[in-house]
Symmetry: C2
Subunit: 383 residues, 2 copies
């Protein structure tokens, strides 16, 4: 058996769906998971339960793996360097991944390479945050802990100096950013392999609700063609400059420049399969998960082009209704083309427990079908 | 956790791909496999290694499963009846499955319901086979053991009475069939659920080489529209009359009737996902595997329609070249749209170890791409 073993650190849904995409390629998966009940641990045959923050656990896990990749960005950078020193390929590697782990490092690097960013600087206390607000035209401003945040956690919209105390309580450096008056949010997703091949997916629109991604529309409707090309080029350039291997999501704000023309600013980077790329499972020739696997193994990448005019992804959040399986009857009967992707997670209010994909030629219809299914699965509608 | 557990008997590639299709639905799989190295056992988290011919093994396996389904048709019919008596849903059930297990029972039933079949009867010895040959216009005729055959095994093309001894050596009843002078082989694949919903995939052409399926073209090129409809209706009727639940493949001969018009005869039945339906993984809105899972759980079925003008599946057979992974570099670089499905099996000459799917608008191109990839993976071409 000459097929490689991919070691996946983290047992969440991204690991689950990456494993699913690896099955047809005959790739063997080994999973390091916090618990045996984690989303991916339910479907992977070789699971090690352990703590990714412990270097010896990581080292033992990495033995017998041909490459290590990730479900999340929380593995300490120094541990990744230690694995590399042991001779295990780590993809993306620590020198790239640190830019997705630390928002301060990310902003500094993006500024250095001339990528358009909101105005920003590290602030040392609430008074310094107020000074930053003054520099950018006043409150509100955004404060972020540089490490540990996701899905709106670790991010504060601050309206006054008195309001700015919370972000500093964790003892982690705090990054201040201007609050961008954006038109909408976009994402430019690319996949890059160690030998430098890269593919760019169509730029998508990401609709956020309460700081959490709710719906993704591929491609972003009525997006200026020049801007779409710029966004793809920017993502490819960031990946090359930062040495990213695997899937890179560049979350963007679409704004209006001083000349009134559409422009983009980089919001966040994620170096792993990303929620804004889930539509590719049913909407692209090659999914982000399949291409992530191919990239970390340095295999030639698959075609990222869309298979349908429009594809829409809507997240299924946990509601008050714990039994989503019963909802399958209605959802599948109503829409035989619906694609359901559930993560095997217990339902908790607000938790992402799955997503649905729909596709077709009529965007209004495609959006309505995704919306309906996501709401019905959550239990917020019953017909 | 209210999601059901599907118990899959058999650890081959059909189980592997059915599991893969169940992951997005959040369905939990439990696998009864001959060995821990079987194709599906490599990718399923809950594996019981045991002998499906042993009733107590089956019973212990079935505890904690919400439904039992199959990778193959070899579980003894009486064991399936015992599981049903224990209260475990078995899908397809023994009353249906016996028609795929026993070619004598299958021919008797098909004849009873008026499905078009080659002339046939059970023969008791070589002299009786010669008498049958005389009845249908002379040798050659086909002899088949009624149980235990697959992929050309258990089937003999017999040219004389002296030639007819082998089939009788196993001590299994022998079915004689006329050797049909067919134009080509087709397959009509449908999926049916316990409450009687059914979906029909487009009728495909199945190109056999040495008695083994080599390539499947979906839909069958230049197939008479009336005949395509007849084939789908026939498959739906067989499924309803036999009480099939899950995927049913009806392998057909396309012939010319006495009036010179195209006609069909039933060759074989398979009550499980089938090689002639592998194209649906990349070529249909809902794959045969996803619809099989939905059917055995009595969920509404998914849309069986094609997503591309043409989809072609070519099997990858083992050759002299054991390392198929190295061939990925060439195949993926040459054709970024290629879909590879490997089964994790050791390469042995002639063994089905995977398949490839290609799709597009130009049939000649789509066929060439599938052919090239299958040959390159096998190692029979090197450029």
């Amino acid at each position: 058996m000459t097929f490689p073993v991919v070691g996946m650190v983290g047992g969440g849904q991204l690991a689950r769906m990456t494993h699913e995409a690896g099955i047809p390629l005959g790739i063997r998966f080994k999973l390091l998971s916090d618990t045996a009940q984690d989303s991916a641990a339910q479907v992977v045959s070789e699971v090690v339960v352990g703590d990714y923050r412990d270097l010896e656990t990581l080292r033992a896990f990495a033995r017998g793996c041909d490459v290590i990749t990730f479900d999340h960005e929380h593995v300490p950078t120094e541990h990744l360097r230690a694995l590399e020193a042991d001779g295990i390929p780590v993809r993306p590697g620590p020198d790239a991944l640190v830019h997705a782990q630390d928002k301060g490092v990310m902003r500094a690097k993006l500024t250095e390479i001339g990528a358009p960013c909101p105005r920003h600087r590290i602030v040392k206390d609430p008074a310094d945050a107020a000074a930053f607000a003054h520099e950018v035209g006043g409150f509100p401003v955004i404060l972020k802990t540089v490490r540990g945040g996701y899905d709106g956690k670790g991010v504060w919209v601050v309206r006054s100096e008195a309001d700015a105390a919370d972000p500093f309580r964790a003892g982690v450096p705090v990054l201040a950013e201007e609050k961008v008056d954006f038109v909408r949010e976009l994402a430019a997703n690319i996949v890059r392999s160690p030998h430098g091949q890269a593919v760019a997916y169509p730029v998508v629109e990401s609709v956020q609700v309460n700081g959490v991604c709710d719906t993704v529309i591929a491609p972003a409707p009525e997006l200026d063609e020049r801007l779409a090309g710029e966004a793809q080029q920017l993502a490819l350039r960031i990946a090359a400059e930062l040495g990213v291997v695997g899937h890179l999501a560049v979350e963007l704000f679409e704004t209006r420049g001083p000349d009134g023309k559409p422009a983009i600013l980089v919001n966040e980077l994620a170096m792993r399969p990303h929620n804004s790329g889930h539509w590719t499972q049913d909407g692209a020739v090659t999914s982000q998960f399949a291409n992530h696997v191919r990239a970390v193994l340095d295999l030639p990448l698959g075609d990222p082009r869309p298979r349908a005019t429009w594809t829409v992804m809507s997240n299924v959040l946990g509601g008050d209704y714990p039994d989503m399986y019963q909802a399958y009857l209605h959802c599948m009967a109503r829409d035989p083309q619906l694609k359901i992707h559930m993560y095997g997670k217990d339902v908790k209010p607000g938790r992402k427990v799955g997503h649905v994909n729909t596709y077709g030629d009529d965007l209004a219809d495609v959006r309505e079908r995704a919306r309906h299914a996501a709401d019905y699965l959550r239990g917020t509608i019953t017909e």
